[in-house]
Structure formats: structure tokens, C-alpha cells
């Protein structure tokens, strides 16, 4: 079954602390994974994608096929990072379906 699991509904950290948002997936094929973010009163937008191997706003994510994980990390959280974060899996069959996790709310306290 194709599934994305984000075990934490809420993650609260202090400004300057490291952040790790967990994402685990279940997929029989070769996964393509994404992180989407939704800031308060804004629309859902792409943060980063595995295939690009990029760092966006200080965030990085490494695909670990052995642990079937794609955790999102940032060494020093900022207050403006407070948002809802969704991990998503793109199925690489003909359906090209984006399957989202249930999301983690990150709250960065001053």
C-alpha cells in the first residue's frame, strides 16, 4: 500500500533549536518525495523535493531507503518557520499521484 506517515501532529521548539520533522513512507517502487509547507493564511506551496537535493530556507531532507524515511531538518529554527508541513510521495506509475501525509504543525517559540 502507498502511504505517508507523519507521526507528530505538533512539534514545538524554541528559536535557535534544531528541528526534525519526521516522515515515513510505504511504496513498492522507487520513491520521489516532497515537502510542502503552508504558512498561516497562505496557500500550500512546495518547500523542497528529493530529486533536487537542495536546501531551501535552511531546510534539508535526506531520503533513507533503508528506513523508508524522508525527515525534514533545520539546524536553527526561526519564528518564521512556524507553519504546517506536509510530506508527500509521488507515485511513479502512470497515475503520477501525489500522496500526502497528515501534516505536522511546527511552532517555533521566541
Amino acid at each position: 500500500a502507498q502511504r505517508v506517515t507523519q507521526p507528530e501532529k505538533l512539534l514545538s521548539v524554541f528559536k535557535g533549536a534544531p528541528v526534525e520533522l519526521k516522515c515515513n513512507y510505504s511504496y513498492s517502487g522507487s520513491p520521489e518525495l516532497f515537502w510542502y509547507v503552508q504558512y498561516s493564511r497562505q496557500r500550500l506551496q512546495l518547500l523542497l523535493r528529493h530529486i533536487s537535493r537542495e536546501s531551501i530556507k535552511g531546510f534539508t531532507a535526506d531520503l533513507n531507503k533503508g528506513e523508508t524515511s524522508f525527515h525534514l531538518k533545520k539546524p536553527f529554527a526561526q519564528e518564521e518557520d512556524s507553519a504546517m508541513y506536509y510530506c508527500a510521495l509521488l507515485t511513479m506509475d502512470s497515475s503520477y499521484k501525489l500522496i500526502f501525509g497528515s501534516g505536522t504543525r511546527l511552532l517555533v517559540r521566541p
Partner: protein, 114 residues
């Protein structure tokens, strides 16, 4: 560039009433998606269009939901009749083709069924 436009932003109806949502994708985006987002959940795909063709509607409850994308630009999603469980946010997204291409999301329509 306004991005993906959706209307209305909010809709409150009584159960058994019909409701329709409209989406205007980013200019030039041939792929359009409708998602359903229940409270506390991530978006779930309802239907995907490539131009005017619905290429994946396997998750669309066809007994009460219908969608169209005439002329391969704007799209309408309809529910008739609405049920209490349909209360959710309905998101529209578009992209330059499917697959790896980034999906750009609209602001969503929040539907409340009383």
C-alpha cells in the same frame, strides 16, 4: 500573476443541496487537480485532468461528485446532493504537465454542510 484562483472561498449549505466550486489554473498549465482536505488530514486527490481529459478520477465518488474542464482551462467540481461528511476544504492545483512538475495550489474552498 494571481496564481491558481478558486471561488467561492467559503460556502455554507444545508445537506441535500447542490454546490459547485470553480477553479482557474495558472495560464499555460495543462494539468489540473482537485483535492479534498479533511480537517487534520493532508490533501487527497479526487481527480486529475490533462487538458480537458480526466485521466485519473478513481478517487472521485461518482454517485454525487462530478467535474468538468471544458476547453481545457477552467474547471468546475460539483456535489449533488451534499452530505454532512462533505464538509472539508476543496483544493485546486495546476502544473505544467504531470509527474515531477511542481503543483501550484489555490487557496481552497471551505465547505460547511449543515
Amino acid at each position: 500573476e494571481a496564481g491558481v484562483v478558486q471561488s467561492p472561498r467559503y460556502k455554507i449549505i444545508e445537506k441535500k443541496q447542490p454546490v459547485a466550486f470553480w477553479c482557474n489554473p495558472i495560464s499555460g498549465h495543462n494539468t489540473l487537480y482537485w483535492y479534498l482536505q479533511n480537517l487534520g488530514q493532508g490533501p487527497e486527490l479526487l481527480i486529475r485532468y490533462e487538458n480537458e481529459e480526466a485521466v485519473d478520477d478513481s478517487q472521485l465518488p461518482k454517485d454525487r461528485f462530478s467535474a468538468e474542464r471544458l476547453k481545457g482551462v477552467d474547471s468546475t467540481l460539483k456535489i449533488q446532493p451534499a452530505e454532512l461528511g462533505d464538509s472539508a476544504v476543496y483544493l485546486c492545483a495546476s502544473s505544467l504537465g504531470s509527474g515531477y512538475n511542481e503543483q501550484f495550489f489555490g487557496p481552497g474552498t471551505r465547505l460547511t454542510v449543515l
